[in-house]
Amino acid sequence: MKKDIQALKSMASQVRRDIVRMVYYCQSGHPGGSLGCTDFFVAIYGEHLNYTLPFDMEGKGEDHFYLSNGHISPVWYSVLARSGFFPIEELTTFRKLNTRLQGHPTTHEGLPGVRVASGSLGQGLSVAIGVALAKRLNGDSGIVYALTGDGELDEGQNWEAIMSAAHHKIDNLIVTVDWNGQQIDGPTEKVMNLGDLPGKWAAFGWEVLILEEGNDMEKVVAGIALAKSKLHQGKPIVILMKTGMGHGVDFMMNSHKWHGVAPNEEQCKAALDQLEETLGDYPFNAHYKINQ
């Protein structure tokens, strides 16, 4: 489903509204990273990802997407719902008892679009690499996409994965790092300095692309297209994507303070006032049931 840039931007505005409302209604969740990665998710599902519905776990011949930093589930759930994976109304169940929209994404309740649980950080790249290896073995031309946080790169398993992808010459994989420079306890350079991040990935044998404006839809769409043009050349590809945590809501922007905090009623209203309702808000229904 190819959309023009304006359509993608209008989708992004609606997704940002969804994120704020989802987190507000259950008074928990992670708005900061979700808002920062909204343009990326919309670009992936709206422009680049080759998928079919209804969702199939194995997804033969399709592109797969893996979210390693599972705490930004609100943006993923909103984009999945608005891409037709499950009813938009189901967003109202986020983080509520008996929901398929668990705090962190999981396959356990059978939510369409999710292929592995994530939340405990640092595991998604390994899983994506496994899928990429198996797709290669199967002669499957589908591309594997994965998103990881930058703070998440503190986890050692990532570096095992990064080394192994280059060793196995995995070139049907595009990893994107949400390079927002923030983690729970503060700026990444203060909490655990990532140092020369592009140099590290390059030294591990990856094709490194830097996307300076990860909140500019046109640049994001083009950045992913550029990465795709470098597939199948014997090297894994990483996009280091600079985003602003909390992008789109002025008082949440570029601060780690909105990593995992829900807005109150006043803040929610102030946030929604900044985000145009383009595709219609999902109806809030405290009693919504799946397959009702």
Binding site: R115, V116, A117, Q123, S126, I129, G130, L133, A134, L137
Partner: protein
């Protein structure tokens, strides 16, 4: 009827050798079977698989956490990955990876773990994991299999390839008597290796052989034993255990594992809920291991056949 008096022993072989043979056979039967190792190809006896199916073998280096995630990913794409490394590095080192990416996500990954327990020998306590059965059986949906000899390890390896879902397969390093070649293997179905009336000996892994030896010694003293091989720890064959214990009214469990969290606790939990019965544990008593030869270690840590005999005599005195 199978009994301790007619078991055919066909020499000694390491259970890990049975794994190597079983993996190759499973690979021949099902082209989706893949093998991964974390720099322990030879120790895990995966050489023949690699030779016959080089494109289906993956060397992952000394990076077990990544290996578990990669295996989960392969399973998503329809493959049946078998990971192979030592039991310590297959469980404790990667518990969270197994928990989230494999068990909670219900991926069809076979976690194959060699060099479990004290019989790893000279390498000592850093490598002698004695907590792995407990850790793995606590995970919802995880099947846990601990075969007792090389033949059974081969059969179990082939069986888990055909079973959909995450599995932990535990085996070991030392040459050990092979005695199950004429006994049918069914995942989840305990094997009764001897029938008696006085005491039930329930073993898993290497210690099943010690249960057999203990039953022979006890028979010479006029005490007859049920000997049960629990090769599948989870799901547990409760019926076989309850049928036996309702007859004998006392029980000994024997395992190369800590007293906490293993077979003993599993049986005790079952009996506490359904048939309270005097039980004695033969297991490592809340301690780490050390360097030594397998037989020396089993003797020092109270896991010898004679220890099972003593435990049975004690259990008999507690019988009402």
């Amino acid at each position: 009827m199978i009994s301790i008096h007619n078991l055919v022993v066909n020499g000694k072989k390491a259970t890990r050798d049975g794994f190597g043979v079983g993996l190759l056979e499973a690979g021949r039967i099902n082209t989706n079977v893949l093998a991964l190792t974390a720099d322990l190809l030879g120790s895990l006896k995966m050489d023949d698989f690699k030779k016959e199916f080089p494109e289906r073998f993956f060397q992952m280096g000394i990076a077990e956490a990544n290996m578990m995630g990669v295996a989960a990913g392969m399973a998503i794409a329809g493959k049946i990955p078998f990971t192979g490394t030592f039991a310590n590095f297959s469980t404790g080192r990667v518990y969270d990876q197994i928990r989230q990416s494999i068990a909670y996500s219900h991926k069809n990954v076979k976690i194959c773990a060699s060099h479990a327990g004290l019989t790893l020998g000279e390498d000592g306590a850093t490598h002698q994991i004695l907590e792995d059965i407990g850790m793995m059986r606590m995970l919802p949906g995880m099947t846990v299999v601990v075969p007792c000899d090389a033949h059974q390890t081969k059969m179990a390896t082939m069986a888990i390839a055909e079973h959909y879902g995450p599995v932990y397969l535990r085996f070991g390093r030392p040459a050990w008597p092979v005695f199950t070649e004429n006994i049918a293997f069914e995942l989840g179905k305990a094997q009764v290796l001897n029938e008696g009336s006085d005491v039930t000996l329930i073993g898993t892994g290497h210690l099943v052989w010690h249960c057999i030896e203990a039953a022979k010694t006890l028979a010479n003293q006029g005490i007859t034993c049920d000997v049960i091989n629990i090769h599948t720890i989870k799901p547990l064959d409760q019926t076989t255990i309850l049928d036996s214990v309702s007859k004998t009214r006392c029980v000994v469990t024997a395992e190369e594992h800590q007293i906490y969290g293993g077979l003993g606790d599993l049986v005790a939990g079952l009996l506490a809920r359904q048939l309270p019965t005097p039980q004695e544990y033969v297991a490592v008593n809340d301690s780490f291991g050390e360097s030594g030869k397998p037989d020396e270690l089993l003797a020092k840590y109270g896991l010898g056949a004679q220890d099972i005999v003593q435990a049975a005599l004690k259990a008999l005195t507690r019988k009402k």
